[in-house]
Point group: C2
Chain length 372, copies 2
């Protein structure tokens, strides 16, 4: 309910000065400006349309906008559903377009009439999130994590399921397992990479840098990776793709080359949406409910604005591991090198599920397949 009057009182200035700050008048002294903005964030200033207070939540990309990606779509859809529940509306904002360089983020958001903001970030623009958090404007970063206690975020934790995924491959007798990730890794891809290395280590398999592929994220890169693995002297018998597009591109290329999945190579993908069911064979994948990330981000902002949420939100939600048709027992080595390396498939039980190593003891079938 705060108006310019409250802000003015709280900052010890006149309402004229508050108005100037909100409109980014360059005449205002920097210290005064900061004092007013900080007071504005403290008091929870609400812009109004006419005399009605706005109920807008911003949805902003800190980097370049890419609504076309399935992940972003799902996040936005979740955000819109969350907004429905909280009686808020989602505004798509473009920070690149019309945030003035000399304007703080708080000024920008208040000028736009939004009362909180969901931030989609990329690794290059984490500093933007830190800045917004520092200013104190209500925000939640989706799909990244921060050490700073001031940054609110929600992220999927794919580490555990990535470990599980690679261990599943190992349990199927795979010994040469490749890994593919973004050439500009964010913390999620790094998590998955760490889990991959951990799984190898847990089972006494040597880490081999040649089996790690770092590429841009698109179908063509997935195809390239699949092709590269086929021309290796010691072919991997399985690949874990840390990204949906890479996995789909690889499946595509496998068909084209006559490489059978999973007979010739097992593939595990990562899925943000429902891509895994739209390819053949359906992809075994570590899955993330991206829509839930957006939903919970806005749900929390709604609580914050209504005063019923604590001032901090740092949350991870579990992924889930879904076994489909793209994985199977390791191909009968055939190639000498595997044997030379001493990588021999253990005696299986016929369905490729020795059970001793997978699922990990304590994990039920529900854990393995069901959504949380």
């Amino acid at each position: 309910m705060a108006s310019v009057r409250q802000i003015a009182e709280s900052a010890g200035v006149s309402i004229s000065t508050v108005s100037r700050v909100l409109n980014n008048d360059p005449a205002v002294n920097t210290d005064t400006r900061d004092r007013v903005l900080s007071a504005a964030n403290r008091s929870g200033y609400v812009p109004t349309i006419g005399r009605r207070i706005t109920r807008y939540i911003g949805f902003a990309y800190t980097g370049r906008r890419t609504l076309v990606d399935a992940f972003d779509t799902a996040v936005l859809d979740g955000a819109a559903r969350g907004a429905d529940d909280a009686r808020l509306d989602v505004v798509i904002l473009n920070l690149h377009r019309d945030k003035q360089a000399d304007e703080t983020f708080t000024q920008f958001f208040m000028r736009k009439g939004v009362r909180g903001v969901v931030l989609r970030t990329v690794s290059e623009s984490r500093d933007v999130c830190l800045k917004i958090a520092e200013e104190g404007f209500p925000h939640v970063v989706v799909s990244d994590r921060f050490d700073s206690p001031h940054v609110n975020y929600i992220d999927g934790d794919s580490k555990g399921d990535s470990l599980r995924a690679v261990e599943y491959l190992i349990s199927l007798g795979h010994r040469r397992i490749a890994f593919a990730m973004h050439s500009v890794p964010d913390c999620d891809h790094v998590d998955r990479f760490d889990a991959y290395k951990q799984a190898l280590a847990n089972h006494g398999l040597a880490f081999d840098e040649r089996l790690v592929f770092r590429h841009p994220i698109n179908l063509a890169a997935g195809a390239t990776i699949l092709k590269l693995t086929r021309s290796m002297p010691e072919r991997p018998t399985a690949i874990y793709f840390a990204d949906p597009l890479l996995a789909v591109g690889a499946v595509q290329k496998a068909h084209e080359l006559g490489v059978r999945i999973p007979d010739d190579v097992s593939i595990i993908g990562f899925d943000d949406a429902d891509m895994r069911h739209a390819v053949y064979p359906t992809l075994t994948a570590v899955c993330q409910d991206a829509s839930r990330l957006g939903f919970q981000a806005v749900a929390w902002l709604g609580q914050l604005l209504s005063g019923s949420a604590p001032g901090r939100f740092q949350h991870t939600i579990p992924t889930f591991f879904e076994i489909n048709r793209s994985t199977g027992p390791a191909a009968d080595a055939g190639a000498g090198p595997n044997l030379e390396n001493g990588h021999v498939a253990p005696p299986g039980n016929g369905n490729g599920l020795p059970g001793a190593t997978f699922p990990p003891s304590g994990a039920s079938d529900k854990d393995m397949r069901g959504r949380p």
Copy 2:
């Protein structure tokens, strides 16, 4: 730049009454209300945040919201790009949620602070578009067509390319060509169906209702259709799917059943996004640049708001037909029934492109493949 004062003058009432109407005060006489709303739309009333006029465009579903669909995503992405160019911001609105029953659409939109609206509609809710048009609120309906001169719309015209697609199949020697569409058809699906029938007629092929499949739009339905065609006594050798999800589901099922594409069956799909490149074999498809629909809708609204557009916008944009790997010469009949029916493949030139019927005379290769 109109304010309550101008509206009041124009409608011959006091500003109090204008305010009451904009806030849906039930005390106001119906006639007065309508006079005021009509004046508000005539004068181009602009809501303000503080004293700044808003630059919001609404993005609203007249039916239930489904941002998750690739088509809707692409439209929204295009709308956001169009908004960037026009310095507008897109607000996702939910008509179902908080439009009050006794409130007109104009009142709702003005209450939300939006100055124009992009409408995504489904066949059941065309009346909503007509109502909004009748009220005179700035709007563009995306992906539908209307006879009323008051409704602004932009739609892809897939009729010509659908005709071309089916004639392409005929040119490849196909004689039993199935067609799949939505069980609740909108005008686009009807267009494609008409084109299908037209192509058959143009080439003296009998229309067979048993080759027409009407299903809900999802992967499972596509799979069902593919399966149904395989169990028919006289199997179709080609299928045109009027929707992306149906086509992908069918390709999926074909792999599962060991049905080879295009050797056993040729498939032409419809693509709103880039789905055709994410399946194997890549889909020959009639393609629509959905993003352009959203872009042009908002671009025109931007012009309208700045006074530089005519008051009417009824526009169709061309689709394009892209030949990929899912189509090939008709399978050697083998089955007796085709011959009994007198449907004999004409002598081809080896690559399945007799040329006489396809491409239609006058059409260049560029027309066939390139985006417009």
